[in-house]
Structures are given as structure tokens and as C-alpha cells.
């Protein structure tokens, strides 16, 4: 693996009033890596992720994403990354083609480029037959695959995926991960959160957040060795005591 750092986080902290949601976390993510960002509900994952994508100002600490400072250069961070929310956020009342065109425009692609990208995406996702149907009519699994592709339209160096497979059927969930692998293979960095522990096994490295801090960070293999268990699920259960 290329050891070029694409995310550098130093003592990143976020306080809401007297509550510290993220407590001085530090870690690096490398180019082309699939980085699993795990933690219990309420552990601070979403807060940390919001800071990394430039939509929430840290209270203290530093983070560089794709070379840009999330505090002083948030707009450049946003341009350099792709983001897929856990909540489906495309327009249900637009067709698949219209959604792709719309997001292409938002990302500032040229008309010719949008046309080319739209055709390519629809072909890759095998959506030819439904390209002119409303997005709202698609099954959840397809929506998620489409969201992922749209998050990659502007060819970002890094893409953030917030629980991309929640509730998705087992086969589509795996097809989704094959798309992730293929994209990482091209050199795109993947930063992903999930509650499926089998998916944690697919990551190159995994961090586990507990109560605002990073309790563990390593390859799934080394984490399992360290805690002397057979699966990532057991690693998670050992670390993430329920402390709401």
C-alpha cells in the first residue's frame, strides 16, 4: 500500500456545552485504504465525521483532509471529497438520469463531462432500463449503489460513507462492497462506518470509538489477535461497553 497520508488528524476535539463528544482523537488514513470507522451509537462517530467533511468546526485540534485544513479551508475540503449520507439524499421526484445530471452540475462538471459520466454510470450499474424512472421507485439497495456512484462523480480522492448498507438485503450489501473494493483499487480512499461487523472484516484498518475516544486502531487481523477472539464482532463487544 502507498503510504501517502490523505487524512491527518491531531488531537481533534468537539465540545457541545459541557459535553465533550469527541475527545482529542488522532489518527492517519492512507491513500487507497479502506478505513472502517466503528463505534457504538452515541460514541461520537458522526460528530467526528462531520468535522472531517468540513461541516462542523472543531473546538480544538487539527485535521487535514486531502491536504486541506478543515478549519481554515473547509470549502476546499468539501470539493475534494465525496460523501454518502446514511439517509438517502437524492431527489425521489427526479429520474435517475436527472439526479446524476443535477449532482454533476452541483459538483461543477462541464455539460459534456456530465453527459459522458451519466452514460458511463448507467451502464456500469446496469440501470439502462430504469434510467428514466423516478429514483423514488427504486429498491433501497439500488438507491444506495446509485448514491455511491454519484458521490464519486467528481472523482474525489476520498469518499466518506456513513452506514451505506443499513437495512440492505444480503446480496446487494455484498455487491455494494464489491463496488467499494473496485473503487479502492483505483486509488480512492474509502472512509466507512457500519454496524455490520462482517463488513468491518473487509476493511484494511479499523478504528473503534468508545465515549469520544479511539480505543483501538489496527488491521482486523491484529485486533482479533490482540483481544484473542475469532471475529470483529467479539472485538467490538469487548471494547464498546454500552455507556450512554
Amino acid at each position: 500500500m502507498d503510504k501517502e497520508k490523505i487524512i491527518e488528524v491531531q488531537n481533534l476535539t468537539k465540545q457541545f456545552g459541557s459535553f465533550t463528544a469527541v475527545k482529542s482523537i488522532s489518527f492517519d488514513v492512507y491513500k487507497g485504504e479502506i478505513f472502517g470507522f466503528l463505534g457504538a451509537n452515541g460514541a461520537g462517530k458522526t460528530t467526528a465525521m462531520k468535522m472531517l467533511i468540513g461541516i462542523l468546526k472543531p473546538t480544538s485540534g487539527e485535521a487535514l483532509v486531502a491536504g486541506f485544513d478543515v478549519k481554515s479551508n473547509a470549502e476546499m475540503v468539501k470539493k475534494s471529497i465525496g460523501y454518502m449520507s446514511q439517509k438517502f439524499s437524492m431527489y425521489d421526484d427526479l429520474t435517475i438520469k436527472e439526479n446524476i445530471t443535477f449532482f454533476g452540475g452541483i459538483y461543477g462538471l462541464s455539460k459534456a463531462r456530465i453527459k459522458e459520466k451519466t452514460a458511463q454510470l448507467i451502464k456500469e450499474l446496469k440501470l439502462e432500463e430504469v434510467a428514466d424512472k423516478l429514483v423514488g421507485s427504486l429498491p433501497l439497495g439500488w438507491k444506495q449503489k446509485l448514491s455511491f456512484s454519484v458521490a464519486l462523480l467528481h472523482e474525489p480522492k476520498i469518499v466518506f460513507l456513513d452506514e451505506p448498507t443499513g437495512g440492505v438485503d444480503p446480496i446487494t450489501r455484498r455487491q455494494f462492497w464489491e463496488m467499494i473494493y473496485a473503487e479502492a483499487h483505483k486509488g480512492t480512499t474509502i472512509f466507512v462506518t457500519t454496524h455490520y461487523m462482517d463488513e468491518a472484516e473487509y476493511c484494511d484498518r479499523v478504528s473503534i470509538m468508545v465515549e469520544g475516544t479511539i480505543e483501538a486502531l489496527d488491521t482486523p487481523k491484529k485486533l482479533k489477535q490482540k483481544y484473542n477472539v475469532a471475529s470483529m464482532n467479539e472485538v467490538f463487544l469487548k471494547l464498546a461497553r454500552n455507556v450512554e
Binding site: 463505534g39 457504538a40 451509537n41 452515541g42 460514541a43 446514511q86 429498491p139 433501497l140 439497495g141 452506514e163 443499513g166 437495512g167 440492505v168 438485503d169 444480503p170 446480496i171 446487494t172 455484498r174 462492497w177 464489491e178 473494493y181 473496485a182 479502492a184 483499487h185 454496524h195 455490520y196 461487523m197 462482517d198 472484516e201 473487509y202 482486523p220 487481523k221 471475529s231 470483529m232 464482532n233 467490538f236 463487544l237 464498546a240 461497553r241 454500552n242 450512554e244
Partner: protein, 298 residues
């Protein structure tokens, strides 16, 4: 029988959400509807909780007909919908009081039933429900669904988006409720939770594919699944898919689950093939079947 469903169908416009579904749930049973988003689980819940009329078929809950005796059903069941539907602007305690009052009871009267769950959220009883974390919202919703001591509890995807620790605790709570004699119908997209149920129905695209105890569903599966592993997982998946006699190739945690079409399949041939394709650290062994494997092959 606590729940009897006979040939229930429901269409929205021209789309069949559920198609001639039948099943029965015994008194005190923990019964799971296992299937992905869009399988029709929520439609079944809404029909059984009398919030939606079926196009065809009949159903009874706690001995009452879902159409003619809907009022009696509403008093006898607890329902926790998939979407958080408590009052975001009321506090934890206010929400619970509200639901107790609606059902003509008090928190004190049935405190025994919710005690184990409520003490976990009690420290936050003055917090607005909207400001709770996902796990706490789920516990509050369960308390509110239980406060009138229902005979049957309907839980629609109670653990979707919930982390593994909270999921485990949630199922432990359900087991304790079951011991108190409450019949539970629960749905989930997590296949690993199926093993926690007494019986499960595997459901996809509006149809029930199979109903049995989890052990039998696994036992009845007649194909041999192999765990395969190598250094480069992505390339391994591609190469396994190109193996001439492959039946299916799916990632399963740290291993790939591989099934071959041939009866006389020899893992050594596969090992040689992978070596020829420059894979290293190859491992092949017979795997244990899971509900998820069965589901994916239906």
C-alpha cells in the same frame, strides 16, 4: 394461537407488497420475520396492528379479528414502528406518562414489566426524546409499547441502525419479556438475529419463502459451503467468480463463501487454480452454514 394470518395480500397501486401470506404464532412465542428492506415486513405489521386493511385474506391477533374487532386489538397489543414515532418535544418521562394515560393505566401499575429497561434511561428522564441517542430512543419506544401490558408485542426492525452491543442487549431484553408470557413478533434485516428467535419466516418480495425453527433451516440446506481466503481479497472474489464450476461467491466476514456446482468438487483443484492465478496465503476449508447463506440461496 396468538396470531393467525391466512392468505393475506396487499397491493399499493399495482405493486403487490405482500402476496398470499400465511403463518401462525403461538402464545408466548418469539417469532421473527427475516428479510431485507422492501420485503413486505412493515405491511404485515400494519395489517396486524389494524392500521391498514388487507385486500384479501384474514387475520386474528389475540383471538380478535383485525377488521371486525380492531378496537379490542388496539388495547391488547404494543407496537413499536420502525420509524421513531414518540413525541420529540416531550421528555422521556412525559412520553411514558402520555402513553400510560392513553391506555387508561399508570407507570406504577405496570412498572415491573418495564423496570429492567426503564432504569437504563431513567437518568435522562427529563431530557427531550428528540435529544436522545439512537439506543436510548429505542429503549424508550419499547417502554412506551409495553406500558399497558400488552398480550402481543409487535416490533418492526427495532435494531436497524443500532450498534452490535445495543443489539445484543436488546435481544436479551426480548428474551426476558418472552418469559413473562408476552408473544413477540419481531422483524429484522440482520440475519444473525434470526438465531435468537423460536421460529422464523424468511420473507422476500412479499412472499414467505420458508418457516421453521432456525436450526432446521440451517440443517435442511443441502449444499456444501467452503470458506476461502487469500491475501488479496478483491482479486480472490474476481478469480473465484471466473472459476468454471462456481455456483456462488460471496464475501462473509474474513472469508469468502464459495459453493461449487459439481457433486465431485475437489477443493485441491480450486487450490491449484488459485495458485496458478498467483494467490498467496490460500486457505480453503468447509464452512458452517448460516441463516444468511440459506437466505441468499432462496
Amino acid at each position: 394461537m396468538s396470531i393467525i394470518v391466512q392468505n393475506i395480500s396487499k397491493s399499493y397501486n399495482k405493486i403487490k407488497a405482500i402476496d398470499a401470506i400465511s403463518f401462525e404464532v403461538k402464545e408466548g412465542e418469539l417469532f421473527g420475520l427475516i428479510g431485507p428492506d422492501g420485503a413486505g415486513k412493515t405491511t404485515i405489521f400494519r395489517i396486524l396492528t389494524t392500521l391498514l386493511l388487507a385486500n384479501e385474506g384474514s387475520a386474528t391477533v389475540a383471538g380478535f379479528d383485525v377488521v371486525k374487532e380492531y378496537k379490542s386489538i388496539r388495547n391488547s397489543v404494543g407496537y413499536m414502528p420502525g420509524k421513531f414515532s414518540l413525541y420529540q418535544d416531550l421528555s422521556v418521562e412525559e412520553n411514558l406518562n402520555f402513553f400510560a394515560t392513553i391506555f387508561g393505566t399508570t407507570i406504577e401499575e405496570n412498572y415491573d414489566l418495564i423496570k429492567d429497561i426503564y432504569i437504563q434511561i431513567e437518568p435522562f428522564k427529563n431530557r427531550r426524546a428528540g435529544a436522545l441517542s439512537g439506543g436510548m430512543k429505542q429503549k424508550l419506544a419499547l417502554c412506551c409499547a409495553l406500558i399497558h401490558k400488552p398480550k402481543v408485542l409487535f416490533l418492526d426492525e427495532p435494531t436497524t441502525g443500532v450498534d452490535p452491543v445495543s443489539r445484543k442487549e436488546f435481544w436479551e431484553m426480548l428474551k426476558r419479556l418472552q418469559q413473562k408470557g408476552i408473544t413477540i413478533l419481531v422483524s429484522t434485516p440482520y440475519m444473525d438475529e434470526a438465531a435468537m428467535c423460536d421460529r422464523i419466516a424468511l420473507i422476500q418480495k412479499g412472499k414467505i419463502l420458508k418457516i421453521d425453527i432456525p436450526e432446521n433451516i440451517i440443517k435442511d440446506y443441502d449444499k456444501i459451503i467452503y470458506d476461502v481466503k487469500a491475501k488479496n481479497t478483491h482479486q480472490l472474489i474476481q478469480d473465484l467468480k471466473n472459476y468454471p464450476s462456481q455456483y456462488s461467491v460471496y464475501a462473509f466476514g474474513e472469508y469468502i463463501h464459495y459453493i461449487d456446482k459439481k457433486d465431485d468438487f475437489n477443493p485441491i483443484d480450486l487450490q491449484n487454480y488459485l495458485q496458478q492465478n498467483k494467490h498467496s496465503e490460500i486457505e480453503i476449508r468447509v464452512s458452517e452454514t448460516t441463516i444468511e447463506d440459506v437466505f441468499m440461496d432462496l
